[in-house]
């Protein structure tokens, strides 16, 4: 491990001052063509690479943002991250990522670390609990939330029409004539889930259907737990006719359980999910879902963050992106597979 050359070594090699080298590196004007050539030659010869740390310390800008999500393994979040990353890349920014696992303490810790690392901004999927701890921070560094609003704290959020999407999908279910609908959620304390539940509930209320508590299952945070809760639904005296799975993990558990019980979808029980993903298009019957623009969610959050970074006076309001009900077979509709339903792949590719 030999010593990395610094601007000083380059200056010496080229026989100029530190500042002149600095000017060449930053393509500042005020350097003659001749000198510039000599400096560039020295840079080349020594294999000099600027030290971004020193630059950032001096310039108070790291060209790095921090992203705290709950779990990168979840396709929904990885797609959001991808949206953020692409936008960041286009602006010469790098991205630090962290998985909070829905744990407030982990979120806090990561935020602290990223702030100490002087990130220029932070995009957060807030974990359950209170984001009040961010209050002081918010005046120091631009923050943007994605997917869910923070709690006990107000800041710009980029999210989707959870309530509306759930409402429309539930109405659709009701139009199929189902009356005993179950709602299976990862965590009803999450704002997104609450909104979805509100939409679900509103649709039921409108047609005067009473929702029985045993038809609502909470705490299905993993595929496996969703799977178990689904089984619980089927040992009830009155089994559900349709299941509304509140996210992409839940729906996978639901499918697994139904498969195991040898029930037919949608004849024995209909299933719909919130959030589209490749699998939804490959199972049989294909899954009817509310498709969320995950990539756009990340991209918009990044756009918002960068506008706040470049111009701190930008307040940054809540952005709500539209969702789309994608009817396939699992809700009871006739399933007509058609090409080009590769929505997740829709990207302004780089």
């Amino acid at each position: 491990m030999q010593k990395t050359p610094t601007i000083r070594d380059v200056a010496q090699a080229a026989g100029v001052s530190l500042k002149t080298v600095s000017r060449v590196i930053n393509s500042d004007k005020g350097v003659s063509a001749e000198t510039r050539k000599r400096v560039l030659a020295a840079i080349e010869a020594l294999g000099y690479r600027p030290n971004a740390l020193a630059r950032s310390l001096r310039g108070r800008k790291t060209y790095t943002i921090g992203v705290v999500i709950t779990d990168i393994t979840n396709g929904f979040f990885s797609t959001i991250v991808r949206g953020i990353e692409d936008e960041a890349f286009a602006r010469n920014y790098s991205v630090l990522v962290a998985n909070s696992d829905e744990l407030l303490e982990k979120e806090k810790l990561y935020v602290r670390i990223f702030v100490e690392k002087q990130v220029d901004g932070l995009i957060i999927v807030p974990a359950t609990g209170s984001q009040e701890y961010l209050r002081d921070l918010a005046s120091h560094i631009p923050l943007v939330f994605v997917d869910r609003p923070p709690r006990d704290f107000s800041g710009p959020v980029v999210q989707v029409e959870n309530r509306e999407g759930a409402y429309r999908l539930t109405r659709h279910l009701l139009e199929h004539g189902f009356e005993r609908l179950a709602f299976l959620a990862s965590d009803l304390r999450l704002p997104t889930v609450q909104e979805r539940f509100a939409g679900f509930r509103k649709a039921l209320d409108e047609v005067g259907i009473t929702l029985h508590t045993e038809m609502v299952k909470d705490g299905a945070k993993t595929i496996h737990e969703a799977y178990r809760k689904t089984h619980e639904l089927f040992v009830l005296p009155l089994r559900p006719q349709a299941i509304f799975a509140a996210n992409n993990l839940v729906v996978q558990g639901v499918l697994k359980a139904i498969r195991e019980r040898n029930l037919r979808i949608p004849q024995d029980v209909a299933v719909v999910g919130f959030d589209d993903f490749e699998m939804a298009d490959l199972v049989q019957p294909r899954l009817t879902v509310v498709a969320q623009p995950a990539y756009a969610l990340g991209k918009e959050a990044a756009v918002l963050l960068f506008s706040r970074i470049t111009c701190p006076s930008v307040a940054g309001e809540t952005v709500v992106l539209p969702v789309e009900v994608v009817l396939r077979g699992s809700c009871g509709c006739e399933d007509v597979p058609q090409e080009k339903t590769f929505l997740k792949g829709v990207r302004n590719s780089t």
Copy 2:
């Protein structure tokens, strides 16, 4: 945006020198209990947070590593990243991530940026092309490759038994009596794919089956392209009896095409894939695959990297992790769904 307090402000507030504050922050000895208390009080009062940039510049250590993968959206890679991230978190390291999209130029650019940001180490899934450009770098900073070895360059790699896995899976297919096997690949220039193809081929050779060129399709880099190539296979006069999909994206395209042609799996055509993922367990019939320990891949790569970071003399050899052939229904076996096939979720949770 008020000015953030520095160690200097704390020193002034507590009536001590800079160095004393520094000592308190780093819990160095040589500070009386009384002074320590005063300093801590000042830190608290001012809301002081150390600046990691200055620290890193001074200490030549950033506690940050860079990870360059091809696409975080792909569950295989996001799981690898998760493995890396968990290991990094445990050691107080942060992770910078980048998507190369299999583009060498993007990979190079990111590596350069990360190096300029003075990361303590780099984990790379090398894109197609030559990694020769890393030669100089390797003596300056620890590098570890995951999933595939680099080209024109030798460095520590953490990968799986591609050849062996493909070989075993292909043999299994042959035991079912299939003779016309097709191989569908994303990019045959990739080392992983080459190895898998070699294993596939070896199995065929052993039983004396000649592989016809039209049974090998290359260039299926997206689900959509895999879908198209699959259709191409079925307009051939002699259609394949079984399809070996070389990765998780390919297999999704294959399924989609087969579904569209209303062919039955495995009666009309068997399908197997390389890399397990949730979906494989949910489609009908369930997919027979070679399961790769993606999480462990990332974790091991990180472990190796950190051992090289802490002790630069560690050479770092190639680590090969075992794969497992998971027999389900799509290969022609009787499909006996069983609980607890949640392999992806297997994690030493935090």
